[in-house]
Each structure stands twice: as structure tokens, then as C-alpha cells.
């Protein structure tokens, strides 16, 4: 049989080499040995796609570090309620009249509806938007701490809310009332009487606190621990063994919840969650059982943003503030 050409010998040697260390190496012409040597070193040639991907990952991390902006934008906390209603315009007016909300930002759509707005009530931001096909209205329960629950309850009623219960002193130190606003949201209006001189909010809570009524509060808490490194700050069980009230610490904020019962039905809502690394938290949430609605992506308003749904149907808008943008 004729001896293969040099070109074929080289190719056979490379093929044997790529097949692995155990494959027999065909003998090659001495003139080819140095080329086979070069080929052997090329076995570990890196993938260009990997090189490029790692570079862009590092650049993203570096620009987050360089921006040196707080990953939670000024005025925000780890958790902010995102309320989606029919008639956001009127809802905004309601919050101004009833709770003294101050408008901070209002981004209208061409048809006049509100694409996004932010208000501040006491020490807390609240975000809101008009409902649309993608985001139908999602009534939410808010635990609102104010200096005079009776007065705020009256103002809410005058602004159009319906009473769910009149102000009453609770054994845990709260003077507390409840209203349902014309947009379907529940407001638990409270003044904490044991907070000390000049204070009316219990330790760890704020003016505005999101209050969930899930079915299966225990599972919900376990999910939050896995997804967002939540910690259980308090848990009170009912005589039936369900969780009547729990305080779940996520970042610098507390999420309150109590098992759904009677009129307190599950009301899956929208929660804006600011974290240091939206990509990592997104991945962790998915791992914990959340459903991805949108993957992390940079937004023109300066946040990196992802959207997941938890097993109870709440929308979590996971965000990291990466740069300050002037509107």
C-alpha cells in the first residue's frame, strides 16, 4: 500500500490525537513532528464564544461596581408595592386625599393612562400603573401605619373608600381600622400605641407594608427563604394551626402575611424588590420554583430588571439600580 501523503499523515495524527490519549498515534514523517507538536498544544484552544461571553459578564459587573450607585435607588427600600388598578389617575387622587400621598413621578401613555407613577406616603414609596391586557388589575392589601388611625380612616371614607371595620384597639397595641378603596385595594390603617413617645410604627415596619393572604402561608415562607434569603421575623399561629400573622424580613423590609380566611382572600400582587445583584436573585428565585416572566435586562431608566411569578401568583419585579438617569 502506498504511504499516505504528508498532508494525510498530518491529518491522521491530528485525528488520533483528538480521539483521546488512548488512541494509537500513527507514525509520522519526521518533517511533520513539529507541526504535530503545535497541533497538540491546540487541543485546549478556548472557545471564542466563551471568551466573549465572559468578557461581557465582567464588563457588566465592572460597570455596576464603577457606577458605585446604591443598588436600591434613593427613596426606595428592598420592597415596594406595585399597585395595578383600573383608573390609576383617580387612584392617585384617592391616595392624595385619603393618605396625604405626594406624587414623585408620573409617566403617562399617549392615551393619557398612567404607564408608571410613584408616590410617597410617610416614609414609603408606592408605585402604581393603569391595568392593561398584560397586567390586569391586582387588588392588594396594605398595612398602613399613621399617627392617627381614626382621622385617616375618616379621610379615606370621605375620599370614597368603604369601611371594612371601624377603628378598634387591638390586644397587640394597635388602634386599627380597615377600608376597601374604590379600586379594590384593602387598607389596614393602624397606629401603634406602644412604639414610644412620638412614634406610631412598630419596630421594623414602615408607613406602607405589603400584607399578603396566601393559601398555604408556610409554603410561601419557605419559598421566600429559598428565593430571596428571607428570614422569619415573627410567626403567630391560630388555634387551628394556620399562620395567622407572620413578619418576613427581605433585605431591609418586612413583608407581612396571614393565611387566607373569610373575606381575606388571596390577592396576588406586584412587589418591586431591589437587590444588589438582580441576575443572581433571579436565578435563585427560578431555582426555588418561581416562573420566569422576563429575564434580567438593562432598562433605560437605569435599573437591571427581571420579572418572576411566585407559586402563589405574586409578581416579583427584581431590580438592581445600576445608574442614575435624569428624566
Amino acid at each position: 500500500m502506498a504511504k499516505p501523503s504528508l498532508i494525510d499523515q498530518l491529518d491522521q495524527a491530528i485525528q488520533a490525537m483528538l480521539a483521546g490519549a488512548t488512541a494509537p498515534r500513527p507514525a509520522v514523517d519526521p518533517r511533520l513532528e513539529s507541526l504535530v507538536g503545535v497541533a497538540a498544544e491546540l487541543r485546549d484552544l478556548p472557545r471564542e464564544s466563551f471568551r466573549a461571553r465572559l468578557k461581557s459578564d465582567l464588563e457588566r459587573k465592572a460597570s455596576m461596581a464603577a457606577a458605585a450607585v446604591n443598588p436600591i435607588p434613593q427613596g426606595f427600600h428592598s420592597l415596594t408595592p406595585y399597585l395595578i388598578v383600573e383608573g390609576a389617575d383617580r387612584f392617585l387622587e384617592f391616595m392624595k386625599q385619603a393618605f396625604g400621598a405626594e406624587q414623585r413621578l408620573r409617566v403617562p401613555k399617549p392615551d393619557g393612562k398612567i404607564m408608571h407613577a410613584e408616590v410617597r406616603i410617610g416614609d414609603s414609596p408606592v408605585e402604581l400603573a393603569d391595568a392593561n391586557e398584560q397586567y390586569p388589575p391586582r387588588p392588594t392589601a396594605i398595612h398602613l401605619y399613621v399617627s392617627d388611625a381614626d382621622a385617616v380612616y375618616q379621610r379615606a371614607i370621605q375620599a370614597g373608600a368603604t369601611s371594612t371595620h371601624e377603628p378598634v384597639d387591638q390586644p397587640y397595641g394597635d388602634r386599627e381600622a380597615g377600608v376597601k378603596d374604590p379600586f379594590g385595594n384593602y387598607w389596614y390603617i393602624a397606629t401603634h400605641k406602644l412604639a414610644g413617645e412620638g412614634k406610631f410604627i412598630p419596630e421594623g415596619l414602615r408607613t406602607v407594608n405589603i400584607y399578603l393572604h396566601p393559601t398555604g402561608t408556610g409554603e410561601m415562607i419557605e419559598f421566600l427563604k429559598r428565593a430571596f434569603n428571607a428570614e422569619e421575623a415573627a410567626r403567630h399561629e391560630s388555634p387551628e394551626g394556620t399562620i395567622a400573622h407572620a413578619k418576613i424580613q427581605i433585605g431591609d423590609s418586612i413583608l407581612e402575611m396571614g393565611e387566607a380566611h373569610g373575606p381575606y382572600e388571596p390577592m396576588p400582587t406586584g412587589i418591586h424588590l431591589y437587590v444588589a445583584d438582580a441576575d443572581a436573585v433571579y436565578a435563585q428565585a427560578i431555582q426555588a420554583g418561581a416562573t420566569s416572566i422576563s429575564e434580567p435586562a438593562d432598562q433605560p431608566y437605569g435599573d437591571r430588571f427581571a420579572h418572576v411569578k411566585d407559586p402563589s401568583g405574586n409578581s416579583w419585579f427584581i431590580a438592581t439600580h445600576i445608574k442614575d438617569v435624569q428624566f
Partner: protein, 185 residues
């Protein structure tokens, strides 16, 4: 495309490398330049000590993320930046082995052994040189060595004859040998 990126020149001029490090310490966005200069080195160091490409990529990624996160802590003492990266790479490999299986050679010794470092330097330079090959030669090398395709598969993909692909493979290796400055003989 990575054509035209600098070819491992920082070592030749330690002052330049020092300036790059200081720039990255002031502004982490400048880290990209250190990455460009050292990617092939770190990859070469790791790739020959682990079992497969996925593991090599995983560890390379870990080393650079760690380097970026700790760039402020890097203190210039005259040793090249790559030495710091090799130390992190060696530790990352050892950590991985401890969690998977035992190997007999400690890569932490290689991280300071001059003969090993020279060899890594040579591999890294070779990887960078692949980018400077004429495009059709480069395509063949990538498909053959990175994607591990047979000459026949490469020929089909590129719409060339097998003979032409083998010819390009030969020319590419000759080119690389020549550009490596006859280091292979």
C-alpha cells in the same frame, strides 16, 4: 471578533502593566484590558489541569470574577499580574479536586514553577496567534480543534473538498509554527 488585540505584551513592559492595574483599581471598567491580556494565560493554565472544556471554562470564569472583585486588594510588588491570577487558578482547581476527586500533582507548585510558566506562556501566545491567521485557515483550526470535527465534517460545513481542508490545516499549523518563532523546532 478579537483580531488585533494586544499579544501578551504586558510582561514585556511591567510599567505598562502596573498602569493598567492602577487604572482598573481606580475604575473597574478598565479591568477589561487586563482580561484581554491575560485570558489565554489563565485558560491555558487551567485547561491542561482539568478534565474537560466545561470545567476549564467554569474555573476560568471563577478566577476572573474573583480577580475583578478583589482588584483593590492587589498590591504591586514587581511580580506580574498573571502570577496573582495563577495563584487564584491553582487554588480554584485544588478546591474543585477536593470536592470531586484526588489528583496527585499540586497545581499550586506549577503556579510558581518557571518551566511550567514558560510553557503556559507559549500556549497562551499560540491561542492568541490563531486569531491572526488568514480567515479560512482560522475557521478550519477552530472547527477541528475547538469543535473537534473531522476533516470531512469541516469540508461539508465550509463547502470545500476534504483535500482543501487538509491543505488549510497544514498551512495554518505551518503559519503558527513560524509565528511562534520556531519554538517547535
Amino acid at each position: 471578533m478579537a483580531h488585533g488585540r494586544p499579544l501578551l505584551e504586558a510582561d514585556d513592559n511591567p510599567t505598562d502593566e502596573r498602569l493598567l492595574i492602577e487604572a482598573a483599581q481606580r475604575d473597574p471598567r478598565r479591568f477589561a484590558e487586563l482580561y484581554e491580556l491575560n485570558f489565554e494565560r489563565v485558560y491555558a493554565f487551567i485547561a491542561r489541569r482539568v478534565r474537560n472544556r466545561e470545567e476549564a471554562e467554569d474555573l476560568t470564569s471563577e478566577v476572573f470574577h474573583q480577580a475583578l472583585a478583589n482588584i483593590q486588594r492587589f498590591q504591586w510588588r514587581g511580580a506580574p499580574f498573571a502570577a496573582w491570577l495563577y495563584r487564584m487558578a491553582a487554588n480554584a482547581i485544588v478546591d474543585r479536586w477536593q470536592s470531586v476527586s484526588k489528583e496527585d500533582v499540586d497545581p499550586r507548585r506549577d503556579a510558581t514553577d518557571q518551566a511550567s510558566l514558560d510553557e503556559i506562556e507559549q500556549h497562551a501566545m499560540l491561542y492568541q496567534l490563531v486569531d491572526s491567521l488568514p480567515p479560512d485557515q482560522r475557521r478550519v483550526i477552530i472547527r477541528r480543534f475547538v469543535e473537534q470535527k473531522s476533516t470531512r465534517e469541516v469540508a461539508e460545513e465550509l463547502g470545500r473538498s476534504e483535500g482543501a481542508v487538509k491543505q488549510l490545516q497544514l498551512r495554518a499549523l505551518e503559519n503558527l509554527r513560524e509565528r511562534m518563532g520556531g519554538a517547535h523546532g
